[in-house]
Symmetry: none
């Protein structure tokens, strides 16, 4: 599945309209932004890291902000791509008769995607609080499209009686929060301690599963 790939690598390899220096700039910028944050990273720093002249950055990206957005846009558009939405459907219709299978498929799928693009995600999450446009995109695109489809699916499981009968907006939030919560703890808050990813993910799945199980 393509969306399980590292987005950046795909772009760097497949996009041939991109020059060598441009690639170096992107890599350096991702590195710097994820570690020190957008605002605390200077363009001269990025240039030095990328081994290019400072002017070269601005030949390709009109402004520093433009560089950030260019960086994040493949992630954002991947997230809202129809393909991704279809994944949900495929996951749902084709093979997953019950909520557990669906959850497992979705967590595995999303978690892999998160992990493979964790640096870009880190930047996105870290910068969202400071950029209105980013937050707006996030809210209007991601939240509406992904969460919307997610909610429909939840609704159907609720009707089938496979999960508890609460508004699906809440059940989606609790599910997503648990997954993202793990990601944030893992990669942002406590990136330096050791994590047994497999175990933790299994426990997170179980946690969500039982947390949303219909009460007898």
């Amino acid at each position: 599945m393509n969306n399980s790939e590292n987005i950046l690598e795909i772009i760097l390899k497949e996009e041939q309209s991109i020059t060598d220096k441009q690639k170096k700039i992107l890599i350096a910028a991702i590195d710097a932004f994820s570690e020190k944050g957008y605002a605390a990273t200077s363009t001269s720093e990025i240039a030095k890291m990328a081994g290019v002249a400072e002017g070269t950055i601005f030949r390709h990206y009109k402004t520093k902000k433009d560089l950030l957005l260019t960086l994040l846009s493949p992630l954002l558009s991947t997230l809202i791509a129809p393909r991704v939405i279809k994944d949900f459907d495929k996951v749902l219709n084709v093979s997953h008769h019950n909520f557990e299978d669906f959850l497992r498929a979705i967590v595995k799928n999303r978690m892999e995607f998160l992990q493979k693009n964790n640096t870009l995600f880190k930047i996105l999450i870290q910068e969202i609080p400071f950029h209105d446009d980013l937050r707006e995109t996030f809210k209007n695109q991601i939240a509406v499209k992904i969460f919307g489809r997610f909610q429909e699916i939840m609704e159907s499981y609720k009707e089938k009686g496979e999960i508890i009968s609460i508004p699906s907006s809440s059940s989606v939030r609790l599910t997503v929060t648990s997954i993202f919560g793990y990601f944030i703890a893992r990669h942002i808050l406590l990136p330096d301690i050791k994590w047994d990813d497999e175990e933790e993910i299994e426990r997170t799945i179980q946690f969500i599963l039982y947390g949303l199980k219909p009460r007898e």
Copy 2:
């Protein structure tokens, strides 16, 4: 309970060693940092907002970073204060015979605290990724002390068979993640949409409760 109060207000009111200008500086800095982030906020901006001269800031706080740390320190020290630790014990020993009561007490207590100090928390969470010292403090103090005590308590409930038998580090993470996950979604990612706090909190409690319930 004092830790359910707005920390900043307490300091501004009770601390008499603090001058009027100093208070204005703190308020302005909190405002600016929480909205634009530490790195993107200039000291001259803070000075203007606070209605003081630029130099005045540096009379009280050696550096801009010092101002940030001063700002966060009451929050940090409240979090790791022995009093808070004792709260856990009190919650545990005195009255809460079972896990549900404990969880309810702790969630109510912590959530109130989060909400009352949401601006300071927002700053803390936003800045943690960018400041090693902050993250170190967080890891060594908060994680070790709070989570440590939390884990002990979880352990005891596990022994009593009230919750599922997984490493308490995981059960604590899942619990905390659900609570913080709500806070982050609520105040940082999607601060502009309407939230029914009471309902969502109740659902979150139920979610944790069932998610950690021993499997039959």
Copy 3:
């Protein structure tokens, strides 16, 4: 008469709200702008010439453009000051019974003013083509107020039959052009060749006088 003074000197001496460094900046800027032009002068250059740090310039003048406007504004406001307008009247009413006396008085008076402030004038004239706001000010303030009053006076001499009967807008233009033409040739186009100011001015007066004399 105050308007026969060097405007800059007056400001540098009398204005006490101006710091020492600020004076140096103004002097350096005038020097640089008049010689190389506004656009070709860098703020770092001005700073170096003034012996101040570059930042100091921007503490006092928000932008480079602001520095230019601040520089020119005393000249501009002197030109449109009611006092200057009154000068015309005084020149006219009190003592000058005929056009020749009036012209002599006005040329002497204006030419002295031009010469004493020739550097500032040079800047104004050189920059007018490139700055819409400056040109607007010039048109709306100088042209309307000064030329307006000038025209009225011309009109009265025309009625008395002392000058030729053409629209006073034209006679004013021809007069002013001859005076300014001399100034521009003298200070801007050919500043390096020797000029016998007194003689040339006398010839210019005669030229205007006879050029506007009623035809028999």
Copy 4:
């Protein structure tokens, strides 16, 4: 008469050694220089306006300054061309028995030339204060050659008693200043107000004529 033509058009049309792109560059540069001034115009701007790549400009003109000089050179060389000097003679010898005829011919001729090339003239006049080489060329070529011949002619009219007996350097200056003064007011200082060119020119001629008439 060829010198009454638009110099630029002639070059663009007749010069076949000039490429299409080069023409576009020249047109764009004239446009930009005349409006914003040489120093405030960037080569990339010119390239964009001309619809060519940045490098293309430098293929044809070694430096930006070179572009300016190339632009002005046809104007400058036209002004000092032997042909122009001969015009004076023709004007003088062949047909003009008296000063008035001569003045009329010369003003008409020169004014037409000024008007037809007003953009290039605008650039020349605007840039002269900032470029020593331009000023030097102007002084050595224009002033010496044109003014020199002009003075000789003036001298002859003076001897014939047709004009006042002042140094012809002064009479030339007064004449030229009146003509250029009109041009500058018309095209540089107040380009936006309406002008009745024919009337103003006639008045200017009359003004010069009577201004230089021998005093009885």
